[in-house]
Symmetry: C2
Subunit: 557 residues, 2 copies
């Protein structure tokens, strides 16, 4: 008998699973059911449709050669039958039958030999006062996109709830439509879970420069308005807004699975093994509805991304079709473009690494993204996180106007293979002036890490320096840049001795006091530390990332 | 007693070694000797100076904050003494003394405890007729750069000898100065040793479109002219040229080492171990003058690059200063921008892999470099090479107007860690529409490789298809694109059955004949193969890379 494969959900994971299952098993009967009317679309492209960067919504659901991926396409091209506007309402695992309902029609049933759950995720909607008012929207479906785009035309002040990837992308989109935009984030930084605070601070600075009002550490407590939203309530604070976008995160759609008695993991998403089998060996799950393993911590995580959904769909499709494939896990890579700023991470942030019990060393390395003399070179900042005892690289964050994606991808590969700082520093990366420096940013960051791990280099964070300054601790903050650089921008309270004359001016510095050196990026800061070390100074550190990583006010000129 | 470290050569490798040695050993006496008057400059930037992309030559020898790296800089900032215009003429290894001569002065000597050879490489100058004529130049030093830039102003027709990285960069530079440019390459493709022929063909096409005349498979036999070059002789062919640039490759400067009796490797460069020690344990070598190990083949290679020179300089500096560091080797990564085209490789090309005895499988995957709906998406072509028996990735080539460097760097990391196609396909790469597709080009290429290795996909090269067509073999070349695509551009002799109707039109195809399917990139070509396989056709393949990888003439419209 033909193998009957049923897939619930026809977006990234489900569509991929079905298409791949067909290629693996030409004889199987393959049905895909989706409750929506649009299928196989790029939700990731929605912010760009809202901002008119992408003009035709069809582009989000077309192949690269412009064919719309609708049910007919799936039938003719992919050889699978897709039913839209049809909700799967239950699974009878004993009988191996699902129940479904098309539109408002009666419930019918469909038998399966192998079932693939690709039910995805939904925007989390907080249960707060008046959250049901008109013009309080979410961003997930094509319908959402159309509504949001329409609303942007008639409204003037938007409030985004949530400072994660989608919140920020939406903030940009609405700003580009000419709206006034306020973004409210509950946690005390943007992109919590994606970036450490000092890296997130760089994103925040950029977003503010683009005219977005950012409120962090502020929880939205409710909304007010007559039928339509007019005000966002943040405790006592009232923010005027005729359009609200809720983007506080995604929740996996696990109702079907839960009701069918399938195991739900600790993350709240469907539990699966490496073959993406749920607790029922005839039922697979893939994409946003299931959890996966973080390959650095070994722990289960819920990281709903389109890249992962596609990879997992392929694996589930193969296995359901009778083949054999595994999905090992992820390392938490995420990336975001917001206005002209790029930011992302792979592996663990410092925060995550510490929370997972690692003894952590970190490096901040700001530098141009290509040869500094090459036109168009733009700064990027790397933050590298390593395990102190083994030197193993745990994570990389990258942020700036330059090419951060390249460094993230190379690091993602290295981290997957458990690279140490030593190994990272010796990677044979592609060098020519239009693409990087002779020693790529990643190589430099790894070298700094090696220096720190071996005790050659000693860093101190900007935050710690700020605290010392604020508490008027007795230490010397030593600016080793040129007088011209020092004159242009600086930190209040710093003493200037340019690196080039430091060897001759050692007498100006007390040997017993703590000295913190810095320059533009702290390359010269580090060299100053080495010079002072060599001269017998015993308590010298450089400030990680120098001026470029100083997130506080600069000295008044 | 203080350790005396002497470094011969003050460019990338030597300058790096000296600077690092100082940081490792504050007490050592460190002297660097260079016969040139410019030191620590970015030779890689010369083509961009010639083309006026970089306007001030000082930028090539300045730090990112604009300080010129001259002898004074090295003394004040790096704490090492540099002597320029001074040639090292010999090494007395017994006495541990080098002989040197400043300008036309008398020979003096300098004792060392540890010696570092960083003598670099020189442009290879072929011994052909009249190679000494005026206006026959090389590109290596700052003096060369100034001369070339000057000559470009007064000359009108340039001939570049050598179609490697430097030849191509120089061709672009001179073209941008408004010159007529002819490039002559002895081998039958551009970038031999860097790219396989079909990838090099894409570079050649682009370069020709920019108005450069390219002659491959042509050896320059001599020059003619009255004092100044006027004609380049290529056998019977005469090319008018009032400026010639010789760029047929680099030769390691090993004379000093050889005369001192140090072991020279099979590649002709200085032999070193992992600590970069020569056959004399008190003498190190680093940079262009020494050979290194290719980490994929395990063989010794000579690949003179600035990226490697810096990494090696650091290692030699540490070891000479009394520390301990190793340099494992390289994987042959190279990259080039020429006009608006990017091309490079990491690991082995197919040609190299076969020459090294690997049983090779290859994949050609052309696709946009980011989400196809994202503005600015540009095509790139990946060629992946794997070992058939183990699935291990041996190499990646990437070429196109889009971001090839990112894919090369991620692959470089993966190849270093001996990734298989399976592992490459599961890398958690950073995805958002501005940076890639949900399944990045690299992931897709790895999936195709898995399909080929497992027998699910069967490819055939454009070259093989061309041969079949030329020899009028009895097979069907099946275009599965849309009628519109087919109408716009196509291959003579192809039969059209769009993928969407293929399942219904199986009767139009004979089951016993060889069928080669294709589309724009051969994604649909592969799907057609799967459909025909499933229908019982027994001899179906798709043409690797489809129309995008077809290097021959298209059908007349
Ligand atoms: C605005 C936005 C931006 C994003 N940006 C990125 C990005 O830059 N990078 C990235 O990697 N990811 C991004 N994502 C995430 C990405 O879109 C998702 O990870 C991806 O869509 C997940 O695919 P999926 O198929 O698992 O689930 P979903 O896309 O959620 O699809 C699930 C499908 O199942 C159907 N379904 C659910 N339950 C039932 C049922 N009971 N019966 C029938 N049908 C059902 C739904 O109708 C839906 O079509 C973004 C998402 C959004 C919303
Ligand atoms: C046009 C051009 C473009 C390039 N583009 C790239 C690129 O895109 N990417 C890349 O990675 N690499 C590139 N390179 C290669 C890169 O420049 C070299 O790999 C790098 O310069 C090697 O550094 P080195 O210090 O080992 O040797 P060199 O740069 O050759 O320096 C050797 C030094 O030793 C001195 N010396 C030699 N013998 C003696 C002696 N007997 N006594 C005293 N001094 C001596 C010389 O004067 C010289 O200063 C390019 C090179 C050129 C010419
Ligand atoms: C497109 C979609 C339906 C999947 O369908 P699919 O048929 O598996 O995917 P594609 O059409 O991209 O690729 C088909 C096959 O061609 C192969 N292929 C791609 N390029 C090729 C080439 N040049 N030569 C040969 N084969 C090629 C791929 O490897 C894949 O085969 P495999 O899975 O058997 O290895 C699904 O990914 C989807 O719905 N995507 C849109 C939604 C989305 O991704 N959202 C998340 C981002 S917001
Ligand atoms: C510049 C040059 C002289 C080397 O000098 P150097 O002092 O070793 O190199 P840099 O000034 O770049 O970096 C100095 C140190 O700062 C460290 N550093 C860089 N950024 C840092 C930061 N933000 N914080 C702390 N340390 C930092 C580096 O790791 C390095 O230290 P290490 O080697 O001890 O690990 C040598 O590379 C050179 O001559 N380059 C020009 C020529 C060239 O590279 N040509 C090839 C390309 S064409
Ligand atoms: Ca170059
Ligand atoms: Ca996104």
């Amino acid at each position: 008998m033909k193998r009957r494969i049923v897939v619930v959900g026809a977006n990234a994971a489900g569509a991929k699973a079905a298409a791949k299952a067909r290629r693996i098993n030409p004889r199987a009967e393959i049905s895909v059911i989706d409750r929506g009317s649009f299928i196989s679309y790029g939700a990731c492209g929605i912010p760009y449709y809202v901002s008119d960067t992408v003009t035709d919504v069809k582009e989000l659901m077309s192949t690269p050669v412009g064919v719309v991926r609708d049910a007919n396409f799936f039938k003719k091209v992919k050889g699978v039958s897709v039913k839209t506007n049809t909700e799967v309402t239950g699974i009878d695992r004993e009988a191996k039958v699902i129940r479904l309902r098309e539109g408002a029609g009666a419930e019918t049933s469909l038998p399966y030999d192998k079932l693939i759950l690709a039910t995805g995720s939904s925007p989390f909607v907080p249960k707060i006062e008046n959250v049901g008012l008109k013009n309080i929207l979410t961003v997930k479906s094509i319908e959402d996109a159309e509504l949001l785009k329409e609303s942007a035309l008639s409204c003037s002040a938007a409030c985004i709830v949530g400072g994660g990837l989608i919140g920020l992308e939406t903030a940009e989109a609405l700003r580009q439509k000419g709206m006034q935009v306020t973004l409210v984030e509950m946690r005390d930084q943007l992109l919590p879970g994606v970036l450490d605070p000092e890296v997130a601070a760089a994103v925040e600075k950029h977003v503010k420069q683009q005219g977005v009002t950012v409120l962090t550490g502020c929880a939205v407590t409710g909304f007010a308005g007559e039928g339509t939203v007019a005000t966002v309530l943040v405790g006592d604070l009232e923010i005027k807004a005729d359009l609200v976008v809720l983007a506080p995160g995604a929740t996996p759609n696990v109702q079907l699975a839960r009701e069918a008695g399938l195991a739900i993991g600790t993350t709240g998403a469907i539990a699966v093994d490496q073959m993406l089998r749920t607790s029922d060996p005839d039922i697979y799950a893939c994409g946003d509805c299931c959890e996966t393993t973080h390959l650095v911590t070994g722990k289960k995580v819920f990281v709903p991304l389109g890249s992962t959904a596609n990879k997992q769909g392929r694996v589930a499709g193969i296995n359901a079709a009778g083949g054999e494939a595994t999905f090992a896990g992820i390392i938490g890579t995420s990336i975001l473009k917001v206005f002209s700023f790029n930011a992302g991470k792979t592996g663990l942030t410092e925060t995550e690494a510490r929370a997972n019990g690692f003894d952590v060393e970190t490096v901040l390395s700001p530098a141009p993204d290509r040869a500094h003399f090459f036109p168009g070179a733009k700064p990027i900042m790397l933050k590298l996180v390593a395990d102190r005892s083994t030197g193993r690289i745990l994570g990389l964050q990258a942020a700036g106007e330059g090419a951060v994606d390249k460094r993230l991808d190379a690091a993602a590969a290295a981290i997957t293979f458990k690279a140490t700082a030593e190994q990272l520093s010796q990677l044979d990366l592609a060098y020519a002036p239009p693409y990087g420096a002779a020693m790529d940013n990643l190589i430099v960051a790894a070298d700094i890490m090696k220096n720190k791990l071996s005790g050659h280099a000693r860093g101190i964070s900007a935050r710690e320096v700020k605290r010392k300054l604020d508490e008027e601790e007795d230490f010397i903050l030593l600016d080793v840049r040129s007088p011209a650089e020092h004159g242009e921008i600086g930190i209040e309270g710093a003493k200037l001795i340019p690196l080039g004359v430091l060897r001759e001016k050692l007498e100006e510095l007390p040997r017993d006091k703590e000295i913190v050196t810095f320059c533009k990026i702290s390359l010269r800061g580090y060299e100053a530390q080495k010079i002072l070390d060599a001269a017998g100074f015993t308590n010298v550190k450089f400030m990680d990332g120098g001026i470029m990583a100083w997130p506080y006010k600069f000295r008044d000129r």
